[in-house]
Symmetry: C2
Subunit: 327 residues, 2 copies
């Protein structure tokens, strides 16, 4: 029997989930829910579209709902809410608020005998697992996370709010020397500026003052002032042609020591290079939707995260096959 999946929210993430579900032999996409007028939404693969308000009525038609909303206002409400009637998965990524989110969802899901999996994607998610395993394997050491090279949508938005800017895109880039020092096992102490740099591609409005725009971007608090930032002015055409995608990625490195006097150094490195940030996140969501289904079938209820779930539960293959193939 196929796992029946609903998609709640139909932006980049929802579309990515729809496409990712096509690669799963044991899952099927049932429909999309939207807060827009359902008639106005056309899905990539022809899935039917319903009003978000009706989602809870689909509890007997959907095994797992994948929530594809934003972390700032959507998910803190939607996940506990839908989690009461259906198994849900989300990519809630406001790191500081994850514990309270987990608590709220736990309360909703556990009582109802539902299984929720929250905060899965690549960070939090794949990177969190990489950190946990490597810290357990090398308890004496240090963990570093570098993001990029990739497009930061928050920083791109910030650029576009600057007066005189017509359009723009920002890349977060790890500083090569810092990465190299970490890989050599030197355990450096790194400031914000030493870890990442920022590169901006900016399209000016007619008559805008380039120097002023550049100064304003580079001095923007929180977003740019603590980084070495480069600003390139380009045409809208060049921006469209060369910077249309939303690639991202990054690396988690644990550098640790073993031996009688810590004389042996080891590094564990987990790196992602993603052409599409949203589509990779969607693929991770789909894998954890399967896990939510399997856990629920085993009677494991409440709110789980990537840290709580056995790897085997993400796979469509049987444990026997995985032992043969992957161990």
């Amino acid at each position: 029997m196929s796992i029946r999946v609903g998609i709640f929210g139909y932006g980049n993430l929802g579309k990515g989930v729809e496409l990712a579900l096509q690669n799963q032999p044991d899952m099927q996409a049932v429909c999309v829910f939207t807060r827009r007028d359902p008639k106005s939404v056309k899905t990539l693969t022809g899935l039917p579209v319903y009003a978000a308000a009706d989602a809870a009525n689909f509890a007997d038609k959907i095994d797992v709902m994948i929530l594809c909303g934003g972390s700032s206002t959507d998910l803190p409400v939607q996940t506990p809410n839908l989690g009461k009637t259906i198994c849900v998965v989300d990519s809630f990524d406001t790191h500081a608020r994850i514990p309270e989110h987990v608590q709220a969802v736990e309360k909703a899901a556990a009582q109802a005998g539902k299984t929720a999996v929250v905060s899965v994607g690549w960070d939090p998610g794949a990177f969190s697992i990489a950190r946990l395993y490597s810290e357990c394997f090398l308890p004496k050491g240090q963990t570093y996370t570098f993001w990029g090279k990739g497009v930061s949508q928050g920083h791109s938005d910030a650029i576009r709010r600057v007066e005189g800017v017509a359009d723009g895109k920002q890349y977060t880039i790890p500083v090569e020397e810092a990465l190299a020092a970490v890989r050599r096992g030197e355990n450096p102490e790194l400031t914000t500026r030493q870890k990442h740099k920022r590169e901006c591609f900016v399209v000016l409005k007619d008559g805008a003052d380039a120097e002023k725009v550049e100064r304003e971007i580079k001095s923007m608090p929180n977003y740019f002032d603590e980084y070495d930032t480069t600003v390139h002015f380009i045409s809208q055409q060049e921006l469209n042609e060369k910077h249309a995608g939303l690639p991202h990625g990054g690396v988690v490195i644990r550098s640790g020591k073993t031996g009688m006097n810590g004389e042996n150094n080891h590094t564990v490195e987990y790196a992602l290079k993603l052409d599409s940030n949203a589509e990779f996140t969607s693929s991770v969501l789909v894998a954890y939707a399967r896990a939510a289904y399997k856990l629920n079938a085993k009677g494991v209820y409440g709110c789980k995260t990537a840290l709580d779930i056995p790897p085997v539960d993400l796979s469509f293959e049987s444990r026997d096959d995985l032992l043969k193939k992957l161990l």
Copy 2:
């Protein structure tokens, strides 16, 4: 309360476990078991040493026994045998025989209400997990494993068996062009020769024929004939000075596609660089010994592998702390 750990077998792995246990706030090493005369064994940290034959009598003094024997003849007997009376962990690494090993240990441990964790280390173990996660995240794609740069003890032994060879060491090295093609997402089909090369450092016996030795090494079936092999002749002194360690490592790369027509490429890379093969394996064994203890306390019995165990169970930290810190 501290988790009490016994060490069964006292070679490189057993010593590594002894040292790794010093870095665990919640575990303590109790003693070592050996098949040698216990009086002849002096441990690095002063642990008491007992006869291997007495191990089963320590069931009430030890929570988990870490088995540090070899995969060819020791573990297939020891793990099911000790697994009947005590929770055990091993690094059984004969890939083709893992399913039958799991079955034998399952039978022993499940009936006895014990928890066994087998085949943990880095491959199988950390690499197996990396393969599983990345295949679940990117079901449309290909997985590559490269080993090295590192010392292969099997190949070093093979060199030393060649007539005229006094001593020798062999490094397995991934072929850079192959790695680069995989990282670019080209999904190449690679032959054995295209993936790895072998570099040998050989000390000749007095009067040995260097050319003949080199020819014999390079043409050795299974070990060298399918690889591009380089042989360097050096002095015993140079071998001792420059090639004393047992470093190893490797990388698992999953390259996969998403999108409407597979237009977006993603790579997930998990890489290890280890100064000491044995000490890293030991550290992984210790982390899974903690997991065996925790699972047993929860009433999860039988034979588990790295694929079956939730990441959170490897850690000495509480789930709440991990959610805060790592997600």
